[in-house]
């Protein structure tokens, strides 16, 4: 695959951005990685820029990007409740700035990484198609949804060829275990530290877990086959209960003579009962399908976490 100009990953130093960079390094395009830090380590074929420099209108960082992929987000769902105003100011302004950048440099594509787990809200047990009315129940979901509307606006009013991706719960190697985000990474981290894992609810909550490598192939499918102005769910399409997932994790760590202890707590009002993404739209547009079973993905994650 070849692109006529560099590809820019904003927020490209986190879990998802770093994973995607490994795939993009096989492309014949320079990678421009933007993050909050002034400087950061980078790989061959990559160039690092501070995101704040990238946003200066007079910046000569790049006259053209084949694509801008925006992973930047300053908050996570569980902490967005503590300060919803900070969640607004930390995320909406920067996203609008990234869209203005895409407009200014006439980026060939703009891909916004939204949140399939939070923008829908508590809409029922069936797989959720993209057309479902949105009723987010966390400040994080509200700002992600508002971001989507700005992306749509810049597409329809200013012609920015932007697509929106709504990933489900992504897990896998590279997700740090002690950040309070990601059930799988947090669970393996608890095992590693011999500490109980705090779980809210009775385990019956259903989630859609997608392995990070499948996320990357799906994102590349959106980049290459997605239609500007459209929204694409990106998940496994399969609902798995939290209890089943934790039992699968326990089984894997028992091979190493370890076990997962769980500290069950009362359910939190902002955790939806079910969240399964209907991925027929992306599959139909691109032929994409996930390739990794939950057991394979969990085993690979455990091997990575042990190696750290």
């Amino acid at each position: 695959v070849s692109y006529p100009g560099p590809i820019c990953l904003i927020g490209g130093t986190g879990f998802l951005g770093s994973a995607l960079r490994r795939h993009l390094r096989n492309f014949d395009s320079e990678l421009v990685v933007a993050g909050r830090a002034r400087e950061a380590p980078f790989e061959k074929g990559e160039r690092y820029v501070a995101a704040s420099d990238l946003l200066q209108p007079a910046s000569n960082t790049c006259e053209h990007f084949s694509a801008i992929i925006d992973f930047a987000y300053a908050t996570v769902p569980s902490t967005s409740f503590e300060d919803p105003i900070a969640d607004v100011s930390a995320n909406l302004g920067p996203l609008i700035g990234h869209l203005q950048l895409a407009q200014r440099v006439q980026a060939g594509r703009f891909v916004f990484i939204s949140s399939g787990g939070t923008v829908y809200g508590d809409v029922g047990a069936a797989p959720i198609p993209e057309s479902t009315p949105n009723a987010p129940i966390s400040p994080y979901g509200i700002t992600k949804l508002a971001c989507e509307h700005y992306v749509r606006l810049f597409h329809s009013l200013h012609g920015v060829p932007a697509v929106i991706v709504r990933p489900s719960n992504i897990y896998g190697p590279g997700q740090l275990p002690f950040r309070g985000q990601g059930l799988v990474a947090t669970a393996f981290g608890a095992v590693l530290r011999n500490k109980p894992l705090t779980v809210y609810g009775d385990g019956s909550q259903v989630r859609d877990f997608l392995y990070v490598e499948d996320f990357c192939t799906g994102l590349l499918a959106v980049l290459e086959k997605g239609t500007p102005g459209e929204i694409y769910n990106l998940g496994s399409g399969v609902g798995i209960s939290v209890a089943y997932t934790l039992a699968a994790i326990d089984k894997i760590v028992q091979r190493d003579g370890r076990s997962l202890d769980i500290d069950w707590r009362e359910p939190r009002p902002f955790d939806v009962k079910s969240n399964i993404l209907d991925t027929a739209k992306l599959s139909g547009a691109s032929g994409w399908a996930p390739a990794t079973s939950l057991e394979e993905g969990l085993s690979a994650t455990w091997e990575w976490i042990k190696s750290q």
Copy 2:
């Protein structure tokens, strides 16, 4: 009608807030009017407070409000494009603060004044029910919709008994003509100054005009009969073209020997073709219906504007 404690109008000094205050002064409740200014003139039975004082957690402005009605908004649709980031920071933080106030003082009701004209987007020519998926095409519509989601969140998570009102195009006495908002007021203002009225599009755009007194009775119907957590359209339910409205205005001013000149311009991409609100939900819940014809309302508006 009697309420057990004061009623608070935030942003209560503008067109809609001032009109509602005339109705609420007939109630046996103190009115607390909050605005951006440090001080403002007020009427008998009213108390003015600066909105910034109201939001101090330690404020002893009031230990309880029967209702908080939130009219405060720092932007208008047409100007929100110039600085979408300012539209975010000027509106979302304050709204979240007002919701935190409602939670803290256990307000009996919180009424958020949203925007029926902008939160839906370009969804077609039929009257729009509240359940229609939202696709706003202005930064103003995006922030109003995000505000609605915060209102829903504070209702579902924190028990704030909040309702959302989506008014259509409100017009009538009290709407200042030279603010760049409100077709009717701006048109009468142009006549008064003998200047042409700038109109974007060919006049075929359809709008839902509601007379300000009908808006007030509708808002009181929502306050008294609305169900917390719900959204209510508040419009005439009737679509009128811009051209018809301008012809009706011209007919009225011709009685005084004046005329309306129009400077037609290219349509703007962010003006929807049609916006008619389906008001069956509020009518069904309360029996409310508008009482003023467009001709009556326009005549009363012209008399008021001449008297200024």
